[in-house]
Amino acid sequence: MTIGGSTSTFNFLGLTFNLGNIISVTIACVIVLALVFALSRHLTMKPGKAQNVLEYAVDFTNGIVNSSVSGEAAKSLGLWGFSLFMFLLVANLQGLFLHVDISGITFVKSPTSDPVVTMTLSLMTLTLAQFLGIRTLGYKGHFENYLKPFWPFIIVNLFEEFTNFLTLGLRLFGNILSGEMLLSMITSMAMNGGPKMWIAAFPLELAWQGFSVFIGCIQAYVFVVLSSVYISRKIELED
């Protein structure tokens, strides 16, 4: 992927890896894990501050999952929703405070500003939806859903699967990438325009960073909501 600057790649076992993505994803995972680890110490019946934060987050993601998925499946999807939301939240905000370019090559950024990462997450979500659909309804019930309301709809339904996959990933990627791109544009404008421009760009950068934080939170929420909607549609028999 060559969007937003050149990258450093290496080959391993015949697969191509983008070093920037690997580092960014790893950092995001470590941050999420450290956050969750720090918040989950000393769990008690009467919650402390950290426990309250964690329980609020868990309740929040459980609420998202429960609002679309009903019954027993919602319980098993709680962990998935929580992990996805935390990872996306951290990943979306990571590029706003941590952006490392070395001689034009980006090493640390928002992992979700790369389409490969977001499309992979989208693919995982839809694969999970297919898997849960087959497990809940059986092969017959699952694939019969593609023929409903009547059989020519198989074209529409298959196309919908594909568009779901694309829109879910690209929505997140587009939002985060545009935010980062504009931030780096403002930064380069400030750097090239001298001290006056630097002062003028400062509030602009500040405002856009705040807006990007907002966008990042919203997109993490939207991604989890849509994912659970897609899953809920797969594990229920259509009328």
Partner: protein, 169 residues
Amino acid sequence: MFSYSVVGAQLYVGDMIFVMIAFIVLMWLIKLVAWKPITKMMQNRSDKIANDIDSAKDSRTKAAELAQQRQVELDKTREDASGIINTAKQNGQQQRDQIVEDARNEASNLKSSAEKDIEQQRQEALANSRKDVASLSIEIASKIISKQLNEDDQKGLVDSYIEGLGKQK
């Protein structure tokens, strides 16, 4: 942009696999570190709250039962107490009557025995006085008689009298 990445350049399949593995490992670690304990704790808490509500309801009904029971017992006790008081009153009344009766009887007994005693004493005194009167009248008579005696006879009489006195002593 996606099409560009597919068509124009390499697709970083390695990245995709890395992201998948990273996310699954992250999910597993979150489950291990936080998810299990926190959901267990939340479950425990909701169980505890449910239990507390149930036990509160139980104890409230128990308390109501106890209050009712106590009320019943209180009423019974009050009845018992008034019964005891009534019996005691009756007993007291009876005892009082008995005592008064006894006292009256005793008093009349005492009175009659006293009357008897008095009568007896009177009789005794009468008998005594009768005896005394007899002896006095005899003495008087003897004195009157002795004045008409001569000196010798008198002397003899006196002597006999003195002798009689001495014997009496």
